[in-house]
Symmetry: C2
Subunit: 421 residues, 2 copies
């Protein structure tokens, strides 16, 4: 008998029929002898509908009230699932984030979980009840106000509860069968992955894989909570995210897959005085605008004029703010100009195998060259290579790399050694 946390996304709960089906799956798990804690997102488009209503009454809704409004969505879905479970003859009890002890910071709309005190959940479990918790929400430590956790919040709620309750696994149910070596919509022969390490999943998420949010994977890794990504429409095995690349014998290490991201923009600051501290001033300015930076490249100093360029990528949504902020400090820092381009995409290859198999970078670049894709910027980590390309060439690049490293079909996804990295 295990303690299982299950999280169901909004599309799995879009109407009464689907809610009943989810309830059946939950009751099956309970009948199999497990303790079950369920986290549900809001039904279908509820959150968007509530946002529309909010915009109708207020162009810029105050964050605290927006949180009060949006959290109603998860209360509704959780209560309905509890009722559906009851109608199947099992006993369930639903809790709000606050009742479940999800304590957060006071940053409305994007609160961070500080602590989880699941006393009431534990008690309900001990009474043999199936426990439901409204995802995406918590209560702020200081003001005791209702907060929301931002994008992917329900996944984070599920992992946080799994960690606090010492669950054996956290099952994330959505409309996909798990993690693939690439987006099947781009690469038809993309291969399903049975198991991925936390580090690889982190890089995949950071590189744009949408199945799991970065935050939720980071949380799961920190508390070592295995995540099982499954489809709520099938009984396929899904993908288990667990373990560390350190535990993988070098010779077994492989390449995980290719991820892509079309949500970033490129900012280039030209002609920065090549003097210690000036680069820092640029990044400070961007940070002050609350913009998160992803890839960074600083050109080798052009000795002749003692000036240098800095290029970085950031979310497209934040691009204009970053540029505006930079222009406001142009005189102070004394750079020449700011260039902005949001017609770009990022393509990444991820895998522990990179550490043990030389020549990956070379093969990677050769593959893109053969496909006629121009590389705009390269950045690498121990187990990831990312390049910036034209957004129109993202699909072509993903196919080329996926193909070059034989990640598709039933072919074993290993890297052929000795190609000289």
């Amino acid at each position: 008998m295990a303690l299982v946390v299950q999280k169901y996304g909004g599309s799995s709960l879009s109407d009464a029929e689907r809610i009943r089906r989810v309830a059946e799956r939950i009751v099956e798990t309970k009948k199999a002898g497990h303790d079950v804690v369920v986290v549900c997102s809001a039904m279908g488009d509820t959150t968007d509908d509530l946002l529309d209503l909010a915009k109708q009454v207020c162009p810029a809704p105050p964050p605290r009230e927006l949180d009060m409004l949006l959290t109603a969505g998860e209360r509704i879905s959780n209560a309905l699932v509890a009722m559906a479970i009851d109608s199947l003859g099992a006993r369930a009890m639903s809790f709000t984030g606050s009742q479940a002890g999800v304590i957060t910071t006071g940053t409305h709309g994007n609160a961070k979980i500080i602590d989880v005190t699941p006393g009431r959940l534990r008690q309900a479990l001990d009474e043999g009840l199936i426990v439901l918790v409204a995802g995406f929400q918590g209560v702020s430590q200081d003001s005791k106000d209702v907060t929301t956790l931002g994008r992917g919040g329900s996944d984070t709620t599920a992992v946080a509860l799994a960690a606090a309750l010492g669950a054996d696994v956290c099952e994330i149910y959505s409309d996909v069968d798990g993690i693939f070596t690439a987006d099947p919509r781009i690469v038809p022969n993309a291969r399903h992955l049975d198991k991925v390490t936390f580090e690889e999943m982190l890089e995949m998420a950071a590189a744009g894989a949408k199945v799991l949010m970065l935050r939720c994977v980071e949380y799961a890794r920190r508390y070592n909570v295995p995540i099982h990504v499954r489809s709520s429409y099938s009984d396929k095995p899904g993908t288990v995210v667990t373990g560390s690349i350190e535990d993988i014998p070098m010779e077994d290490a492989i390449l995980t897959g290719v991820a892509h991201d079309r949500t970033e923009a490129r900012v280039t600051v030209v002609g920065i005085p090549d003097v210690p501290g000036y680069a820092a001033k640029v990044f400070r300015a961007v940070a002050d605008a609350d913009v998160n930076i992803d890839m960074v490249l600083q050109n080798a100093s052009k000795v002749e004029d003692g000036k240098t360029d800095i290029t970085f990528t950031c979310p497209r949504s934040a691009g204009p703010a970053a540029v505006e902020k930079l222009r406001s400090v142009q005189e102070e820092i004394g750079f020449t100009k700011v260039l902005y381009d949001d017609l770009i995409g990022k393509v990444s290859l991820i895998g522990a195998g990179m550490r043990s198999h030389p020549g990956v970078t070379a093969k990677f670049c050769e593959a893109l060259a053969d496909a006629g894709v121009n590389i705009d910027l390269i950045s690498t980590s121990e187990i990831r290579i990312s390049v910036l390309v034209k957004d129109t060439e993202v699909d072509k690049a993903v196919k080329a790399i996926h193909d070059a490293f034989g990640l598709g079909g039933d072919e074993e996804a290993i890297v052929y050694a000795g190609t000289g990295r």
Copy 2:
């Protein structure tokens, strides 16, 4: 500067446009220099829609989960009104029943308010904020679960908050202009009442007047909170419910109006042994079935056979349960049979004037006789006369009485003395 509690019904909040209009009225009150606490019901048909959803997933939803589900409706409307107020440049903060300190019993679906601890509301008011509270909901003292207050719950929330905060007035906004001498749909020349005492309003509500729920008026009377019934669609003066009939000089006492009720059924228990304690057994049985009794009549004992009959009225919805329960104890108590009739209606005349003006009962019965309405049962209180008639004759009876006592038009609604009561 006063402290004003305003309550808005669901029909006043059915869409974004109406929500903005309600927000304007709230901000006007605040700008007039008053502290404002607002209680909103759920938007339009939200509660019914949620109930439908519940029934789709579970034929008999567990009460605790139903409360968790339904309370989402008031969270949504309150947050939206807070946003609309914000968009008008004023500052507002919304609170759930639990956050507002509305402590209740644990009876899900029909909880009673035990205590109100409005610390957070007081603090927000002191900060100059407009305070919004989700109506109809509270938190149970023992289990800390979300509860609902049952029919008219939001009105009760508003009055309870007004009492706890020592508000100067509790304004109840709905789609009617106030209290009338009769239902204008039945009596075209029904007259609007500017002021009604608590006792009179209690009798009106008990007699079927739908504008205010009995519970909310009882609460207002106990804590002496003036209620101002107004329309959210007009600026008409409405009706103020305040004061006691004791404060009305006898000679000024008048008749308030005619109320009717089509929600009751009549139960007659025939042939009860006319022995002390047997009537009690009948009422105990009905009480055990959780049925509330309204009018009661016990026939004079028929000496010849030492048996008596008891007739009472109760809500139609509870009628079948009452009959079933009575039949289950028929042998034990030893009565002859139970008769049931739900094709009845109750018509009542209410007014403090009754105490000072003789002949009201006579005039009342004469009016019905002249109209050819047969009286089935009569019950009276110090300031009320009620009769049971065929449901098909309710309208005719209301018109006849309203007319006989000159309650309509601009005519002064006094009772002509000396008609011998």
